[in-house]
Amino acid sequence: MADAPAEAPAAPAEAAPAPAPAPAADVSADQLEDFKEAFGLFDRVGDSKVAYNQVADLMRALGQNPTNKDVAAILGNPSAEDMANQRIDFDTFLPMLQTVINSPQKGTYDDYVEGLRVFDKEGNGTVMGAELRIVLSTLGEKMTEAEIDALMTGQEDENGSVHYEAFVKHILSV
């Protein structure tokens, strides 16, 4: 055994996740069980933790729609290495999830429809699928071709147009 007990460094070099001051009282016992179950599904190592780079998907699985930037900020803007290697337990994850749940910026049906309406050149309730694909891959948090294909499957009509109100309803239904 070592002479001196191993101590954690006083100030960790890497950015520690800033736990959000979220009230635990907002979550019902049932919801807590759901959260724990999902958390467990994402733990592929068996240490009752999930990796930083799983947090966004875990939150999405739990019904939230954080941007990747939101999640990175909640995690303390970690390096790519930390994203892959750092893991958190459920107690650390829960307040992060609550921050997102309580976020005032959540996208609503109207937000999405208005956002897409910008590209509705003819004002007829449709956007060109091709244009939407370009927007999704070049603006904001760019999506990959595979993601876009998965998203747009079955959404374009015979003219290659997307009826975006129906599209948004479909998105919000799951």
Binding site: E37, G40, L41, F42, D43, R44, V45, G46, A51, N53, Q54, A56, D57, R60, A61, G63, Q64, N65, P66, T67, N68, K69, D70, V71, A72, A80, E81, M83, A84, N85, Q105, G107, D111, Y112, E114, G115, L116, V118, E131, I134, V135, L136, T138, L139, G140, E141, K142, M143, T144, A146, E147, A150, L151, I171, L172, V174
Partner: protein
């Protein structure tokens, strides 16, 4: 279309058809919000497809055990594209 000839430096047609506001912060913010909604939807859809039984409240162990092996939702495919390192 005024500009078919080489007077103009760039293909004017492309600019008209695809006037995507690449530098507009508002447009980017709106796009990011939409993309966040899309990513949320796709993750949940994948999980639904991957998990035929909604919630089986039998011995959680069996369910969790098998789920762990079969990997939930193919999350790797949906993983944030800002990570370089593959997940083990």
């Amino acid at each position: 279309m005024d500009c078919h000839i080489e007077e103009c430096g760039q293909p004017q047609e492309e600019e008209d058809v695809m006037d995507i506001p690449l530098d507009d912060p508002e447009a980017n913010k709106a796009a990011a919000k939409i993309q966040a909604g899309f990513r949320g939807h796709m993750t949940r859809k994948k999980m639904k497809d991957d998990k035929p039984r909604e919630e089986v409240s039998s011995s959680g162990d069996a369910l969790n055990g098998s789920q762990r092996d079969s990997e939930p939702a193919g999350s790797e495919g949906v993983e944030a594209d800002d990570t370089a390192a593959p997940e083990q």
